[in-house]
Amino acid sequence: MSNSQMVMYDEEFQEINVVIERLLKDSNSKVIFLVDKNGQLISGVGETERFDTTSLASLTAGNIAATGGLAKLIGEKEFSILFHEGEKDNLHISIVGGRVILVVLFDNRSSLGLVRLRVKKASEELSVIFEKLMKKSDEKVKSGTSFPFAEITDDDIDNLFS
């Protein structure tokens, strides 16, 4: 797992959203979220306004971290898929490309089998995009170009707290 800073650019953001929008339709699910393993929400599609997305992201990451800890204790690398079954809604949580978490919320209009199948395909596509994204941000950091915070002043920072 890379420990480097996560950076998201417009181009990849659009590509990611195309993939998860399609997954939302193909899997007949209600909401899909992508969350960084550190608990930051990357993107969400579907009925996102019905949910507290920030909390959801943080708890999902906590959940993945805790089950990852359990996995290591029994000698597994990680549990790459988690499934939570509720009375009406279910959560399918999976790890994409080692560092991003894909959360699919669905009800009885879909099924676990369908979600698993569609998630598998979408995960492969997402992995490729995130791989590209990591390379891109590493290159930008190396070349030192266009870092938006290089020019912030002490005043800018102080103003936040005024």
Binding site: M8, Y9, T54, S55, S58, A66, G69, F149
Partner: protein, 195 residues
């Protein structure tokens, strides 16, 4: 590590409150939550036991405003302070951008303070971080209690590297925002350097 999103023009940073059991980490977050305008905060989540001891973490998202057109968000986490929750503490340190170490000023908690600080260094190291290179501040909490150790002594024991430190009484809110501002500022200065 902070997350910069050019698409939504947001920057997200993670601050972790660390310290021995019952030192006031959750109380710090509760005060921040109580005194922050509704539009600047999200829901505070506490994963606690029935006796209100932190089991996994507390979480409070804050939106501070904009810097150069980027929405600046801080995610505040606490760790469970009790010694036997070490596995959980390690998980919460993942991706941290800044640390607030909360010390309990009471004389009888001095050993617990030292143990917790060693534990912080050790757990950070395990994840490939060095406390001396991270944005880091110290808070001496519970200054209002009669058995509080003098600040000079706490400083000598708990802040040998002389990072910014603050006296506080989290239950009344004294020193809470000063501490938070200091660590947030260090994180932004760190970002400015581009790491």
């Amino acid at each position: 590590m902070s997350f910069i999103n050019y698409a939504s023009r947001e920057i997200n940073c993670k601050i972790v409150y660390y310290g021995p059991g019952l030192c006031g980490k959750t109380t710090n977050l509760q005060h921040v939550y109580a005194k922050t305008a509704p539009e600047a905060k999200g829901k505070m989540i506490s994963l606690a036991t029935e006796t209100e001891r932190t089991l996994f973490f507390d979480f409070l998202p804050l939106a501070l405003g904009e810097i150069r057109g980027f929405k600046t968000r801080f995610h505040l986490y606490t760790v469970p302070g009790q010694v036997f929750y070490d596995a959980s503490r390690k998980l919460i340190l993942k991706g941290v951008d800044g640390i607030v170490y909360v010390a309990d000023s009471q004389e009888e908690r001095m050993d617990a303070n030292i143990e917790s600080l060693d534990n912080l260094r050790h757990n950070l190291k395990e994840q490939g971080y060095d406390l001396d290179k991270l944005p880091y501040v110290v808070q001496y909490n519970k200054r209002d209690l009669p058995n509080a150790v003098p600040v000079e002594e706490l400083r000598r024991e708990l802040n040998p590297t002389n990072v910014p430190d603050f006296e506080a009484c989290a239950s009344t809110g004294e020193g809470v925002f000063e501490t938070l501002k200091a660590v947030a500022k260090l994180i932004l200065v760190d970002l400015k350097k581009g790491r």
